[in-house]
Symmetry: C2
Subunit: 387 residues, 2 copies
Amino acid sequence: MSHIGVLGAGQLGRMLALAGYPLGHRFRFFDPASDSPSSLLADHLAFDYADTSALEKFAHGLDVVTYEFENVPVETVRYLEKFAPVYPPAIALEKAQDRFVEKSFFRELGIPTPKFTINGLSHGLTDENGLNKQTLSRIHGEKRTLDEVEFPAVLKTRRMGYDGKGQAVVHSEAELISGLSHGNTDKNGQADGLILEEFVSFDRELSIIAVRNKSGDVKFYPLIENHHRDGILRLSLVTGNISSDLQKQAEGYATKVLSALNYIGVLTIEFFEKDGRLLANEMAPRVHNSGHWTIEGSATSQFENQVRAATDAPLGSTNPLGVCAMVNLIGNLPDATSILKIEGAHLHLYDKEPRAKRKLGHITFVEKDMETLQKKIDLVKEAYELF
Amino acid sequence: MSHIGVLGAGQLGRMLALAGYPLGHRFRFFDPASDSPSSLLADHLAFDYADTSALEKFAHGLDVVTYEFENVPVETVRYLEKFAPVYPPAIALEKAQDRFVEKSFFRELGIPTPKFTINGLSHGLTDENGLNKQTLSRIHGEKRTLDEVEFPAVLKTRRMGYDGKGQAVVHSEAELISGLSHGNTDKNGQADGLILEEFVSFDRELSIIAVRNKSGDVKFYPLIENHHRDGILRLSLVTGNISSDLQKQAEGYATKVLSALNYIGVLTIEFFEKDGRLLANEMAPRVHNSGHWTIEGSATSQFENQVRAATDAPLGSTNPLGVCAMVNLIGNLPDATSILKIEGAHLHLYDKEPRAKRKLGHITFVEKDMETLQKKIDLVKEAYELF
């Protein structure tokens, strides 16, 4: 039995605890918000992430610390490392928290990404992030940026963006300059905080969820097909129709990241699929919304495997038990009865107050074939107009 | 979202909460023991079941109350009914808490049972329990008892027995008289508190788990094959080889009980199978150890269906997802790593201190065929010598 500390107490932390209790573990959460989805299920310390005395209290007696979102300050993790091991390692957070660092890291490892560039290079950015010189020269200056990344392009904040926040599609030099000088600067008003990315007209959005334990054992779930609306994940599908070639590409890329970071825990990489080729868009050093289907759809859920990896246990099977669909409940909830009466519907509610664009829950189906699965999805559409 | 109160905070309550949180419900436990398996997962009031002011505090704001063991005092339930509905109904507890009342109730409903009789009828027992006059006359007096129930027979306490406690096989009149006058009297020294039952050389022990909601919808899990040692359940199997005739017998008997009690919640009935015929041995008005396989082995677990029934939601599918085995971990735990490395092993630990004969956890497998399942069971035997 391990005492597991979790930074962040949202729905991901809640599902971590729900998966970890059956293995006999105990949980303690740390989250500045006191009424978060995990707070009823375990001890919960509600302090600022910079409050070192609270962090020390939190760490007392813990065997291991993990986190459920990638924007926890790296300094917090570094501080906690004095008291207990933290998995995934802090370096994974550093790579994932900045889109420019992240994509440069992918490139270094030979993992294809959409074209990208940053602005304001002349204001001090060096190659300390591992960016090679050729790239540096290509993206030197705003004017030449436009030459490299064609319109339409996507202007994003390098940090703290999620669920489509901090992103805008720009169609012209005028829109880009406007974005740079007005709305789309970062919190400190720095255009340095922005990245301009190629707009990929992808065939599909796919994600791979990988897990690696201390012994270096690695397992992968099958590639997941993701459908977004307004930048927020709405539907994830495990269709069984992923080619072994595509699966191998994804596993190869994930393996490179896991090895480079000496990673322990669950790692998610989101890809664009274009003409049978995968382009890495971003990664999350944690369990992921697109992996919620694993709770019922795989012998071992991503949450249980995260707990197993963090506690140095053998990893569990990641094989899918059928074709699966996961429907996100965003902003507003359907009537629970109308969902629960659908045969095979697994309803997950996070006990959060409804609010626009907020993830409040999800529904999973595990079925034998896509036809049956599609019928279930259609029934959800009837019961839940927001979907 | 409902606030659900649970009387008893053992592993069954723990698994109820783990199943109910995903549906968005909140839990509060009441159990005299303060360090019980559920106490970390939710609010927990540790007071005596007779403490009405504590019960009132417990009931405050609850939408519904349920219980996780059948020896909770009926008076406690009756008291709580003033504040919130209690499911299953108190009458189910009354029927299940006394083996004589229980078996007489089965007989009234036309459900076959092993032969049974009680001693000390002359000391005041009337037919208020619905015992018919023919039966009364047959079991009048100890001497004639022996004529009716042949040796070997099983002498049991009528109340508070579980896991083989309060039971003894008697092989002769001398052993019976000794049992009656010495060890096997009830807490008050009354032989009235004992029941003598036919020793059935059964072919199999089977249990059915049924669930009924407020609207009267009923669902059944498939009959479960149970293997005991020293009176304690060791292994439950869902083999897929139950004949439809046997399943129908069991469902018919369960339906009679559910209807007679206007039951809401999960009900378990344990049977002896002898020559293709089912004899009801006992019932439990709650989720049951023999149903733990449903967590992974069915689309909806017995725990989720208990929560659904208690909150007036539609019942979920009870279809098995494969052949299943549930191995109980009794008295002592195996090394977790040796279990978790078995592909497909679902380990459930209750966070209880090891003690002889104590249920500390269980392991479930869901497989495609019995051959694979047997291999997994054999691997558990290698890793866990107590099994």
